[in-house]
């Protein structure tokens, strides 16, 4: 069962998700790899960490960025299979990502392309939380919202390798730090940290649903 807004953060189940894609457009670009790791309340559970490379014929130039080889991609698993696993991992959890709209848009497009109804869960966005925390101290400088800059601000370790699981874990750790900072003034629940969709997105979603 999907957690509701009253679920306290120390009992909130989340799944930190990171996608590697061929580009920024959910309609034109493709998913190359998916990484995720569950967060149970204030604990990241490494046993649930996964990284799946999606089988791909012609990945294009983004391959170099993500350090994936053509062999990796040829040995990858078909996207519908990976999506199926992700859906199971997400069951009963809130989606957690750094810049969640990106992950949500790609997953929405991917599920649709696979002929499935997306029905994506509520999301928590660490970029948005970082914006909220930094906004308390005045103006936010350029680049301050990036995942690794945000982590550095919380004294989290800088790691060298970034793959889909690495970034999902990095996001999960950042979330623990943010939740701890936000929780200083009192216990929080999902409703306090959940990403609010801008009304335009909501209209778009409604429109897509009608088609």
């Amino acid at each position: 069962m999907t957690p509701d807004d009253r679920t306290p953060l120390d009992r909130l189940p989340l799944l930190a998700v990171d996608l590697e894609t061929t580009g920024l457009s959910p309609t034109r670009d493709h998913v190359l790899a998916v990484g995720w790791v569950p967060v149970d309340g204030a604990r990241i559970v490494l046993s649930g960490g996964r990284r799946h490379v999606v089988r791909h014929g012609d990945p294009g130039e983004a391959v170099a960025i993500h350090g994936l080889t053509h062999d990796d991609l040829e040995e990858g698993r078909p996207l519908p299979e990976v999506l199926g696993e992700l859906r199971r991992a997400l069951a009963g959890r809130v989606l957690l990502a750094h810049h969640a709209p990106f992950e949500l848009a790609f997953l929405d497009a991917a599920f649709r392309a696979a002929g499935e109804t997306p029905a994506l869960p509520p999301a928590v966005c660490t970029l948005e939380l970082q914006q909220r925390l930094l906004g308390r101290h005045g103006e936010i400088g350029p680049g301050e919202l990036r995942l690794w800059t945000a982590r550095a601000r919380h004294g989290l370790p800088v790691t060298a390798a970034h793959d889909a699981l690495g970034d999902a874990l990095a996001c999960a750790e950042l979330y623990l730090a943010q939740a701890a900072e936000l929780g200083v003034s009192g216990p929080l629940s999902l409703g306090d940290v959940r990403r609010r969709e801008p009304w335009l997105d909501r209209v778009r979603a409604w429109w897509r649903g009608r088609r």
């Binding site: 990484g35 204030a42 604990r43 990241i44 559970v45 490494l46 046993s47 960490g49 996964r50 990284r51 919380h154 004294g155 989290l156 370790p157 790691t159 060298a160 390798a161 793959d163 699981l165 690495g166 999902a168 874990l169 990095a170 999960a172 750790e173 623990l176 730090a177 701890a180 900072e181 200083v184």
Partner: protein, 624 residues
């Protein structure tokens, strides 16, 4: 299935920290998926004292303080610090409170996985057990670590010993010509050649036994009295092999031959010179030195001798004895030279060595600590000038040789440290009866004394008076105890810095003041309290155990801690000397290995437990 990249990073992190670094690679690979990650804000409690840990926590980033029930800092740790492990291993409540002093990310190892790793991997398990004698292995490994690194004596070749081209004579030359040649060249043997080929050797011994003793005509040919076809060696032969050849054949000369041509000669003396790095020879040479300048030249070799000993894996205890023995030889020689110049003393006296050398624990950065005990027949108006002159000449000589004057002026040149036996007794009685801080300081130098020169009866009389006076003065002992217990012993290391109880960080570790000296003081206290006549720290501890004052376990731990610290200092000093820097006791923590840091922490822990034991026995708090 190979690990995902990020989990490989968790694995690599663990692999870089004890005790996980002891796990086999395949086991280490299986650990990360069993872990979880938690986060603690600065100031929050990570693990409360008295709670029952259900997992081992490893600091991944940030830092934590461990404080006991009294709020005393016990440890400060950064990334890699394990907390809760000891309590989890023994199933006992957490003994100290762990608090994040920075925002801290922790890796949590669940109890089940923790216990499985402990059961299957003894090194991993041992890390969480504070067993007695844990320093013992470290001391052995510390020495192993350096042995075999250098074999200067053993690695020399014969070729390196050849200093001059060989002197040779034709086989048809007369014995007389050969003897004249040897005499002119100041050599004890000559090679006999036919063309370029070596056909024999004639030595001093041959001249004695085959010519003079049997009245052979010296006009006859060398070939008649030489040793034909002598044993030879090659330039590339190991020096040790040549040495063994000499010993085996009971000869003193070995021609060096290359491509059938003689290229040199090695003698027993050459091979012994290799042993220059041998302290026995050094002491012998010093005792025969004709003047202070020669003593200084010889003394300069001491550092090389010690470097050699350290490389051969000698213990700090043994190295300390060697340095002290050579120091004794130097001091004795300088005193003898001064006496020879000044004439015999007008009344008997004893020259005392004080401090670290008196304990046989001298290191490579010594200064001078000595005193004179004069016979009670001493008359200042008649004799003061002689002993002042003697003290000045010896002290000046030692300074020339490389022993700086004592900064605290605890030297025979100071009239206060040059007294008749009766006056010394009064001084000792004063220190013991009215233990002011200054008295404690002076006494602590003076209670480590050893006879060096002169009338041993004077030294013995003073030492036994001291011993009885100290043992019978509980207040004096209590002050010694207070001083020994009050030294700040470091807790350990935090991000390459030394941390002490106040939480202060320092960028250098003073091995002497921060550790060795405290053990010395602890041993002195216990030694004096049980009436031990020993000066050496380790013997004092033994005597204290025999008297039932110190538990054998604590004494053994203190001995290991002393050896570990002293060896660390010794290696540091040898390294400094090699780099041409003056030797000191200040170690930069950043050059210490994790192994050394871990065992230093254990050594500090031993010292602190000994300090606690002292504080419990003596009413220390009221006195400081």
């Amino acid at each position: 299935m190979p690990l995902n990249v990020e989990l490989a990073e968790v694995r690599d992190f663990l692999a870089a920290h004890v005790p996980f670094d002891s796990l086999p690679a395949v086991v280490l690979e299986s650990v990360p998926p069993g872990l979880s990650i938690g986060y603690h804000r600065r100031g929050s409690v990570v693990l409360a004292e008295g709670s029952t840990p259900v997992e081992l926590l490893v600091v991944r980033s940030g830092a934590v303080d461990l404080r006991d029930a009294d709020g005393e800092l016990v440890e400060r740790g950064a990334a890699g610090t394990c907390v809760g492990g000891a309590a989890l291993a023994t199933g006992t409540p957490q003994p100290v409170t762990v608090r994040a002093i920075e925002d801290t990310l922790v890796l949590a190892v669940p109890a089940e996985l923790f216990h499985r790793l402990r059961e299957q991997h003894p090194d991993f398990a041992a890390f969480f057990e504070h067993r007695a004698g844990m320093l013992r292995d470290a001391v052995a490994r510390q020495r192993e670590h350096v042995s075999g690194a250098d074999r200067s004596v053993l690695s020399s070749t014969v070729g390196e010993l050849v200093t001059r081209p060989p002197v040779s004579i034709r086989a048809d030359a007369s014995v007389l010509d050969a003897a004249r040649l040897m005499s002119a060249e100041r050599i004890s043997s000559v090679l006999v050649t036919d063309g370029e080929a070596l056909v024999g050797i004639m030595t001093d011994r041959d001249l004695r036994t085959r010519v003079l003793a049997v009245a052979v005509d010296p006009a006859g040919p060398v070939s008649a009295v030489m040793t034909p076809d002598p044993a030879t060696t090659r330039p590339d032969a190991p020096a040790l092999e040549a040495l063994l050849e000499l010993v085996r054949r009971n000869i003193h000369h070995l021609p060096v031959v290359e491509d059938d041509r003689p290229v040199g000669m090695v003698t027993a003396t050459d091979l012994l010179r290799l042993q220059q790095a041998n302290p026995v020879f050094l002491v012998g040479d010093i005792a025969r030195a004709p003047d202070v300048a020669t003593v200084a030249e010889l003394a300069a070799r001491l550092q090389r001798v010690v470097a050699g000993l350290v490389r051969q894996g000698t213990s700090a205890h043994d190295a300390g004895r060697v340095v002290s023995t050579v120091g004794d030889a130097i001091e004795q020689r300088v005193i003898a030279l001064a006496e020879a110049a000044l004439g015999p003393p007008p009344v008997p006296y004893a020259w005392l060595t004080l401090g670290s050398r008196a304990r046989f624990e001298q290191a490579l950065a010594p200064d001078q600590d000595h005193a004179l005990v004069l016979h009670d027949d001493y008359r200042p108006d008649l004799h003061a000038a002689y002993f002042a002159g003697l003290a000045e000449q010896v002290t000046g000589g030692l300074e020339t040789i490389g022993y700086p004057r004592c900064r605290g002026d605890k030297m025979a040149t100071n009239p206060r440290w040059r007294q008749p036996l009766g006056t010394w007794r009064g001084l000792v009685a004063g220190w013991v009866g009215t233990p002011t801080p200054d008295a404690i300081l002076e006494a602590s130098v003076f209670f480590d004394l050893r006879h060096q020169h002169g009338d041993p009866a004077l030294t013995a009389a003073l030492a036994s008076y001291q011993r009885r006076a100290a043992q019978a003065a509980p207040i004096f002992l209590a002050h010694l105890a207070a001083a020994a217990a009050s030294h700040h012993t470091p807790l350990g290391f935090f991000r390459g810095l030394v941390v002490d109880r106040s939480g202060e960080h320092r960028d250098t570790l003073d091995v002497k003041r921060g550790g060795i000296n405290t053990i010395v003081e602890i041993a002195r206290l216990h030694g004096l309290a049980c009436g031990s006549s020993a000066t050496s720290t380790l013997v004092r501890l033994e005597d204290a155990v025999a008297a039932g004052r110190v538990s054998p376990t604590l004494a053994a731990d203190l001995r290991d801690a002393w050896e570990f610290l002293a060896h660390l200092r010794l290696r540091h000093q040898v390294e400094q000397v090699r780099e041409g820097a003056p030797a000191d006791s200040w170690v930069d923590p950043s050059v210490l290995s994790d192994f050394e840091k871990r065992h230093l922490k254990a050594a500090f822990g031993v010292i602190r437990s000994a300090q606690v034991a002292i504080a419990q026995r003596y009413p220390v708090r009221e006195m400081t």
